[in-house]
Symmetry: D2
Subunit: 188 residues, 4 copies
């Protein structure tokens, strides 16, 4: 199997983000044919089409669009904010989908993990995030779904996700994602 | 390429359904490696778990579950009813997803065409129909999207979809669906 | 406060439905100005526009449309099937929204309780059910939301919802619904 | 009728935004009991919970949260970006919903107008925006819905929305919104 470069996008921007802990565990537990790296999305100014029309792209846009264009697939790890996913993720999606006709996500496989302090909100963020992927042409893995509840209880005192059964689940999940990435990538 | 058996599910049950006309055109214009046939969903009683618990499945359930299990993929053609898709389609999805642990849709590729007399509603039915597909594990083709507006104006006096540009679009759409079907099927 | 007649629609059709147990508790705990009664939706044939075009309405349609037209508001109690709500509920919505121009739901207040054996699916059914309500013009109470998890553990051996904290929650919920019903009804 | 202060939030940040033209027309055509003013959302840094936890709120957060808290209702005017609404709007929603327990939107009425250069995307942005409103407890007007297609064709050479039938529609829409605002506000 060829090596695939996967970008990891975390929806929560806070330093001690639980989603970042989940993402780090997913990276650690991924099979060998996936090379994953965390992408920075917190420095992207809110999307404004004037940047594109006036050819005055912020440097962060230039960097991010090039990164997305260079990658083979994406893992999104999102919290729930108000029964949907955070602005930071939608902003990243929008920035790299533009300027018109230059959709850097186009045709690349993806997967969505959602996590929550409670038990329920993760589903709403996860499902809402799937709709933009239709237009962006990012085929999202359907199964297994990954909804991680009571996420704060799964970490150790250093903020590392150490819960054994969640780690086992994430390992299985990343193996399925590996198959999905190769299925979609090798067909295009 | 191996031959793939595709079931076509039409959300509107009326005899002169515009969606059925769209589905017939899609069948006619499909590439050779796809064998498509229309499935009957209008005779399925509303799903009731007691049928499964009591082992008294309606005959239509037995037939339909066997059909879905025997097929390689699915084309859904849906109208919009009240900013979502019709009950007839949700019922078909639910019936063949049960009894628990016997999801006949599992892992098979799909695509969704939505049509409307107006111009806008097709999007809402199409997007709403994608959420059950996550749990059913039916990977849905992301692009091209198929939203067919003013559908009544595209038919001739016999109710056949004869509009040239729509037929051209449907041909391109079915070629993309052929690639999607083989991508997903051959990976499983 | 004037007395309001509220129809209760339960999405699960099985005889021992957990949602029906929740609905019965909600009816029992409702404040005095709401008169609630359970509506039958399981006998409605799948919606087919030919019934309307040909003026051959099934008797169940005639009955149900008259019931909806006579009521002041609605309480929906839904399980989750495949990350959305059941066909039986969508069918009921569609039947009483037609024939075109005769939307019997129009302008009447509603609320949605969703329940699940697990912990998470209730959110997806609840949110999905809100989209048809936009077109049907049924203003849905936003807060409190009602997602009832592990619903089977809340019932006694006769299938009655006896869990004290859930009953307390449902009482508070129905008091909020009473205010919502009067707010919307008295404004029209 | 008492006077109500309404904040107008425009999802597109570009200077010549079509949505801003629609919003300006809605403001101009609104009935007398509504005082509408445009809110700035483009200067809000992407929401990061560390700002709240560390008590180092950006000045724009302080200003915006105070504005939302002081207002009686909200009109959202949104474009469609990738089958959903823009990050700028989600960010504004999230910022004024926090810190935890300080939801400045709570209980106030809202309405959503969506506009698009094409004909279809407006529905998807509009429906997606309704889900966060459930948790934020912003009751959204159900009818009339406002989907404005081919929006660029409705403006004059100064970027003003001058199309007569759209202006007539917006006037009717704002009259309905006036009733909705008073219905919800006066009940709380």
């Amino acid at each position: 199997m060829s090596q695939k470069q996967i970008g990891v996008l975390v929806g929560s921007l806070r330093a001690g983000s639980y989603c970042r802990a989940v993402a780090n565990a997913a990276i650690e537990l991924a099979p060998a044919s996936l090379t994953l790296r965390m992408l920075e999305i917190g420095d992207l100014p809110l999307y404004n089409q004037d940047f594109d029309d006036n050819k005055t792209q912020p440097e962060a846009y230039v960097r991010f669009r090039a990164e997305i264009a260079s990658l083979d697939g994406f893992l999104f790890v999102t919290p729930e904010y108000n029964r949907s996913f955070p602005a930071a993720l939608k902003n990243a999606l929008d920035v790299a989908s533009r300027p018109y006709g230059h959709n850097a996500w186009n045709g690349k496989p993806g997967a969505i993990i959602s996590a929550t302090l409670g038990t329920m909100g993760a589903v709403s963020a996860n499902l809402a995030l799937r709709h933009p992927m239709v237009f962006l042409n990012v085929p999202i893995m359907q199964q297994p779904e990954a909804y991680i509840g009571k996420v704060d209880s799964l970490l150790d005192e250093h903020g590392k996700l150490t819960n054994a059964s969640t780690r086992k689940f994430l390992q299985t999940y990343m193996e399925a994602f590996e198959r999905w990435v190769h299925t979609i990538s090798d067909a295009h």
